[in-house]
Symmetry: C2
Subunit: 288 residues, 2 copies
């Protein structure tokens, strides 16, 4: 899980303008949220997927780091008073609490825009791969089953009866689409065969679902201190979550089933799938 982290951090450091670059405030706000203790799960998934396909994929870290830009922009906007109104994230004050609402809106916009600029100018990729990755990420982040669609369903679901259909609608889009895209990005960058791409896509879907189920469980079982954000908010906001629909025990069983399905999807990779299997295990067993 950790072997590619230094490359991800270096790529982010290289592409995000320094705090001294004019206008300084926006770059400070972008960096505050970006270097705020994220686990870099999406970039790591992209790089491990690429490594499952091919030994050498120069420049993959540049592509992978854009997933963290998209994820961070969505968190900054999600935390705004008009959205989830969160004061803490990863144990620190949220972007708008430190820089104000206007700068938080613009910092999110800027991270989103920068992600596409980087993808379209990847130094070691062909124009075909650049354009394809822009489309993949834009669709995973967009309104047609992507991240923004999930956020809308999430907002509109508050206070609605927690049904299995509504739950799937929210989570397949809200977190699932970008996690799926992360694995696909690595596969596409590495020139995966159609079979390899399909297997990794299935892995990404199962892992993404496991991730969200565990997230919902931790919101109930972990403390705010452990999570670095306000625990118990889902219930307070009447969010539609896995425990709300299926109960805690069944949710834990479902997470384990998804972990097993993720492992099975990797069978064609043999030993090369080891690191991705470890990630699926870690996602289900994490405590924060």
């Amino acid at each position: 899980m950790k072997r590619f982290l230094p490359q991800v951090e270096a790529a982010l450091e290289r592409w995000v303008p320094p705090e001294t670059a004019d206008p300084a405030t926006i770059h400070k706000a972008m960096r505050y949220s970006l270097f705020g203790g994220g686990k870099r799960i999406r970039p790591v998934l992209a790089m491990e997927a690429a490594a499952a396909v091919r030994d050498e994929t120069p420049g993959i870290a540049e592509a992978a780091c854009t997933l963290e830009l998209i994820h961070t922009y969505s968190l900054i906007h999600d935390d705004l008073p008009d959205m989830d109104n969160d004061d803490y994230r990863r144990g620190r004050l949220t972007c708008h609490k430190v820089f104000g609402g206007a700068m938080a809106i613009l910092a999110g916009d800027a991270l989103c825009t920068l992600a596409f600029e980087i993808l379209a100018s990847l130094p070691h990729a062909s124009d075909q791969v650049r354009a394809r990755l822009v489309v993949e990420v834009a669709q995973a982040a967009g309104t047609k089953g992507g991240m923004i669609a999930g956020q809308v369903h999430d907002i509109e679901g508050e206070g609605q009866p927690p049904t299995a259909e509504r739950l799937e609608l929210i989570h397949r889009a809200k977190t699932g689409a970008l996690l799926r895209c992360s694995v696909r990005m690595g596969a596409i960058y590495a020139g995966a065969s159609p079979e390899e791409l399909a297997a990794l896509t299935a892995y990404g879907e199962h892992t993404g679902l496991a991730f969200q189920i565990v997230d919902d469980i931790l919101d109930i079982e972990a403390s705010s201190e452990e999570l670095g954000k306000t625990a118990g908010k889902d219930a307070a906001q009447q969010k539609i979550t896995f425990p709300a629909v299926y109960g805690l025990d069944r949710s834990k069983k479902m997470a384990e089933d998804e972990r097993v399905a993720a492992w099975e999807a990797l069978s064609i990779f043999g030993a090369r799938g080891g690191p991705l299997r470890d990630i699926a295990d870690l996602i289900v067993r994490r405590k924060t």
Copy 2:
């Protein structure tokens, strides 16, 4: 100015999901702001620039319409209570007044994301042109001298002494970068020579500056009814504007100088530059 409008509207209609597409609310919010009476200056500039270079550029409207998505997203976010807090835009309630703050934030995010998805999948362009246009638009909309940089300077300039340096910093970025990019997009799409691209870039810079000077003048001279938005807001918010720095008379002279410079930049195009000259004239002489 108007000959390409039907193609721009058709491209927007084709690429933006219908109001019935799930999740309906976000698509309604996106369309509400997008089809709210905009003048489509940026797409028209792109298409006229392409037409100055080459007779036939199939699919240019698809590329050009993305400029309107970026422009509209920036207006939606600019109007939010945390930013300029405007209730009216183009004579109608602003997006957040109709759909709420959360949906307005997401609608802006979605329009931005969709713009890059379209550019990277332009049906009639090569992957090279697709990737290059994503980079052009992302840079024009970003924090390194682009639109977001201008918005930051604008916010931070409120209440500061109105100096010529601060004014140039704001407007070159806030509106200038995307207008310049519009003309460059058309030139690049049409395969312009380096000389043609340089000439059209200069035209875009002069026209963009003229546009902003006139915008600042109209905020003083026109009524709210004529503008479709609150007039006199610049002075009320102590914004740094051309009239604030140079006075009204000198500002009018400057707009006229920029119009003449825009004309001169087009000299290598001869008669083919006619429509672009007309646009420069219209921009300076408009009353709203």
